[in-house]
């Protein structure tokens, strides 16, 4: 069983190796490349599920205790770099792997061919995501952010075309500036505390003098701003809807989790710093109102958007705003439901980006875009079909019925109506917010509930309006689907249904995750076994 202790490094190593190997066979060997990419992603899913089971104690963990710590090169924590697996990290890893597998299978049907190096970039994106969720080191968090961003720059331009390049350039410029701010923040925090290890950081902050504390707060605020840019918080999110709307659908689908990396990092630092009083961006009223304004801005965007892909982008902003408001809410009881909501909304947005591409397939705008990109890469001759839209292999009978049902399910999920998990998530959030009042002003609970319900209403109005335009368009031909396109979307929606039907058990797990997350001392003493005991005072 000794090799099991090396599991935490696999989510980083497997995609890295897969990306390197995927560069070797030429782009024409589709089957081999597809098999390699699929195998790598399935391995990541298996590893993530095993880690999930281990952190919950269902499988005996390869390490003592709930939190797994993997010291790279076996250098102990303050000196070496560590990977840390706790429940939250395991949840995020599993979510990434599930979403990645679904979007990968979907993209193999046709989008993978719209440009070059899709599969290696996709694996590098996964490596960055997994690394960012696992790392216990501030500077490594920066490095993994850069890995996932560099891959996402390539992916957002996948398929080329003027719209993508235009939206992509804004996306890249904003994120490059954010990376520079991240560096300033990391350097400042290191300059004051003398450590980059997140657990040791939590200890050292408590021992800073007043001057050091001021400098540290400046660094932490800059760090928070970076995470808020990634999370798509208003007013730092104007790049988001355009970039997501212009990206190829499977890319946009997997990007649904990209904003949640910012939310994750914010939550991780907030819980580690909470004992010493986290500075503004990491919690409290400030974050709560930022979340509310983000929800409002996203809802206005949802109502105003003219295309479904833009609506989907604004819905991502709304879900980010909901999470930020929940984390800013007084007390810690909202964290569990918020994690449940996070998982449900990521799965739903991923499915939604793909289903709207299928539904809009034979309509003018997207067909044009696709034709341009296929032309640009000269792929028509090889595929021996005149129109890429007719490549669809076996046409599923009643494809329209399937699309309608899935679209409907996604709308219910994203707006938070029963019977899907979106409803359970929002219900649990509002219920927890109402239960808190002894600690929080009643106004907050009221505002929070109103924002959640009104944003759901806005989503409902916009989606039914655009849905009518897309689905009741009598002049359109029935879109042709392939099984491997319809399958992943159906699986994502079914997973949300399972999440809702089994809400009791899954919510218990998310509550346990939130509980262990807020127990920062456990994290610190797991990472720094020796020093952790001495500084408990």
């Amino acid at each position: 069983m000794n090799w099991l202790q090396h599991l935490p490094i696999l989510p980083v190593l497997v995609p890295l190796l897969a990306a390197a190997l995927l560069l070797l066979p030429s782009e024409t060997r589709r089957r081999r490349r597809a098999a390699m990419a699929l195998a790598a992603t399935v391995v990541q899913l298996v590893v993530a599920v095993v880690l999930l089971a281990m952190t919950d104690g269902r499988v005996p963990p390869a390490w003592g205790g709930e939190i797994g710590v993997y010291a790279l090169g076996n250098w102990p924590a303050p000196f070496g770099i560590v990977l840390v697996v706790d429940r939250l990290a395991a949840i995020m890893l599993t979510l990434t792997a599930v979403l990645a597998l679904a979007t990968l299978v979907y993209s193999l049907a046709r989008w993978e061919r719209a440009g070059s190096h899709y599969l290696p970039l996709f694996q590098l994106l996964l490596m960055g995501l997994n690394g960012a969720f696992l790392t216990g080191d501030l500077f490594n968090l920066f490095v993994f952010f850069e890995v996932l961003l560099a891959a996402s720059y390539g992916l957002v331009l996948h398929g080329s075309g003027a719209t993508r390049v235009k939206a992509g350039m804004h996306y890249i410029a904003v994120n490059l500036v954010a990376s520079l701010i991240f560096l300033i923040a990391a350097a400042l925090i290191y300059g004051v505390t003398g450590t980059l290890n997140m657990a040791e950081l939590a200890q050292r902050v408590a021992r800073l003098d007043a001057d050091g504390r001021t400098l540290f707060d400046v660094g932490a605020v800059l760090l928070g701003v970076v995470f808020l840019v990634k999370a798509g918080a208003w007013p730092l999110n104007f790049w988001l809807p355009r970039a997501y709307g212009a990206a190829a659908p499977p890319v946009a689908g997997v990007f649904a989790i990209l904003t949640k990396v910012g939310v994750y990092a914010l939550l991780r630092f907030a819980t580690l710093l909470q004992d010493t009083g986290a500075p503004a961006p990491f919690g409290g009223d400030w974050l709560f109102y930022t979340g509310l304004v983000t929800i409002a801005a996203g809802s206005v965007g949802v109502l105003g958007a003219q295309r479904l892909s833009q609506v989907a982008g604004f819905l991502v902003i709304v879900s980010s705003g909901t999470l930020l408001a929940a984390f800013g809410f007084a007390g810690t009881t909202l964290t569990g439901p918020a994690l449940y909501y996070l998982v449900s909304s990521v799965l739903a947005s991923g499915a939604f980006f793909m289903v709207i591409e299928m539904a809009e397939r034979d309509r003018k705008a997207s067909a044009d875009l696709l034709a341009v990109s296929f032309e640009a890469f000269g792929l028509q001759e090889k595929d021996s079909t005149e129109h890429p839209d007719e490549m669809g292999g076996v046409a599923i009978p009643a494809a329209m019925a399937f699309l309608g049902l899935v679209f409907f399910a996604c709308v219910l999920l994203l707006t938070g109506l029963p019977p899907f998990s979106g409803f359970v998530g929002k219900f649990a959030l509002i219920a927890a917010a109402i239960a808190v009042p002894p600690q929080a002003p009643l106004l907050h609970a009221g505002l929070f509930g109103a924002a959640l319900l009104l944003s759901g209403l806005a989503g409902m109005i916009a989606l039914s309006r655009l849905g009518i335009r897309v689905f009741w368009d009598s002049a359109r031909p029935t879109p042709r689907l392939q099984w491997i396109e319809a399958g992943p979307v159906a699986v994502l929606v079914l997973l949300c249904l399972v999440l809702a039907l089994d809400a009791g058990q899954s919510m218990a797990y998310f509550h346990a995750a939130a509980h262990s997350l807020h127990d920062a001392q456990a994290y610190v003493s797991a990472v720094l076994p020796v020093a952790g005991a001495g500084v408990a005072e």
Binding site: Y153, V165, K166, I172, A173, A187, Y190, G191, L196
Partner: protein
């Protein structure tokens, strides 16, 4: 020494931010590069300024940490330089693609309307 470094970082960062807010893609990439230099110098400064102190242990000098400067910021600067280099190259490619596709080097892909 501190005031010189601080002024250098300030000048670089100020020019970088000014260029970043300009409408031409070439100005934006110059701005990003200048900001990158400012940030790299800043990280370097976070290891405290000392002259004549190497970051790597030299057997002839002995192992007293007081004789050496903090090696961590220097390692961070190296990483930051490499990453900055890669992202600048990538941004340059996007800039060229945008110029080719839109026929203009405006950051919005089209010229602003003249008043």
């Amino acid at each position: 020494m501190e005031i010189v470094l601080a002024l250098a970082i300030g000048t670089l960062a100020g020019s970088g931010i000014y260029l970043l807010l300009r409408p031409r893609t070439f100005q934006v990439i110059m701005g990003l590069s200048l900001l990158g230099y400012a940030v790299n110098l800043f990280i370097f400064g976070m290891g405290r300024l000392r002259s004549g102190a190497p970051p790597v242990i030299d057997p002839a000098r002995g192992a007293d940490p007081a004789l050496y400067t903090d090696p961590v910021p220097q390692a961070l600067v190296l990483t930051a330089i490499v990453i900055g280099f890669a992202t600048t190259a990538l941004f340059l490619v996007v800039l060229m693609a945008s110029r080719g596709l839109n026929g203009t080097d405006h950051v919005d892909g089209r010229e602003a309307e003249k008043q």
